[in-house]
Chain length 192, copies 2
């Protein structure tokens, strides 16, 4: 299972067998059931999670009770609440599983220690964070500028695995539209 | 002038005098006039910029010709188009100066080389990128959930230097409201 993780890391840096062993000793493997929470609003975010299998989502609930999904994470993606984990303030977000999932968890303080022991990993996390920043920047830009149909097409193009895997209701929430409207958009796309 | 930069770095890592000198040799100092562009939509983003003085903004123009500001950068902040710089695809964003500014510029390929020469800097850039990610995550969350008044109050609380420095028209564009509506919000706040 951890091969998924090593493959992801070794796209960017090379680790020796000893380093891999040391690295893994800082992580805990965890199975989470569908709908089980990894983080609940009001709690301080302690962990970053790497998804080995399954699918997680990060969302918040607005004052009218509507869910807004910020991010999905499928196999070989990272997920955390970056604001809460770096400030250690209570989170405004929830992270839960959309299906039974297996994840690798690391505590913030353990990550800091690990980075001291294997400084090369700084490069890996820097690159992963840059990529996360780029994606959320695009998401904000699309949210502010593109109509729902275009946003859906972009999601399909950029993250086909997510559109395949994630229930339509969740995709609609991510796009900020109703499931009915998404269904209309999909029918239109099939017709054209 | 570069003291601002070293102070920012040395909050996170320690550099020797030789390393500081090497570091600076990778940057170009540039003065940019008010309204001058650092990046224009359609160009590939080549540089990251650290602001020594002044104020820059990153924005895009939607199909109706409206400007949407994604980020301001005042003294000791970084600014770039992360998506364009890592993918080397043309940018959908513009970066320009709101007032005469002085910046330090580094090309992406020079940054890569610099990181090989001073690997400690990986930690600095990882932390800066984490912080950038956290802020844009909060911005997306607030955009989706909070009314304009709350978003303005949060901006004042979190970035008082920006609210002080940046013209009201720009603040309104950042908040996604008209300048008239912002003026109404401000009057209400003064009254209470």
């Amino acid at each position: 299972m951890s091969q998924v993780f090593f493959d992801n890391i070794q796209q960017h840096i090379h680790l020796s067998e000893e380093e891999k062993e040391l690295l893994l000793s800082y992580f805990k493997t965890k199975k989470i059931r569908k709908r089980q929470f990894l983080l609940e609003e009001g709690d301080v975010c302690k962990h970053s999670a790497f998804v080995l299998s399954g699918c997680l989502r990060c969302y918040f609930i607005d004052e009218n009770g509507f869910e807004h999904i910020l991010q999905f994470a499928v196999e070989d993606w990272w997920i955390t609440d970056m604001m809460s984990i770096i400030t250690q303030n209570p989170s405004r977000l929830n992270i839960d599983a959309l299906e039974e999932s297996e994840i690798l968890l690391i505590k913030r303080e353990d990550q800091t220690e690990l980075l001291e022991k294997i400084p090369q990993l700084e490069k890996y996390f820097r690159i992963k964070t840059e990529s996360g920043l780029a994606h959320i920047q695009s998401r904000l830009l699309e949210n502010l500028s593109l109509p729902a149909k275009e946003r859906y097409l972009n999601l399909m193009k950029k993250y086909p695995r997510i559109v395949e895997k994630v229930p339509q209701k969740q995709i609609a929430s991510y796009l900020g539209i109703t499931p009915e409207f998404l269904s209309k958009v999909r029918k239109e796309l099939v017709k054209n």
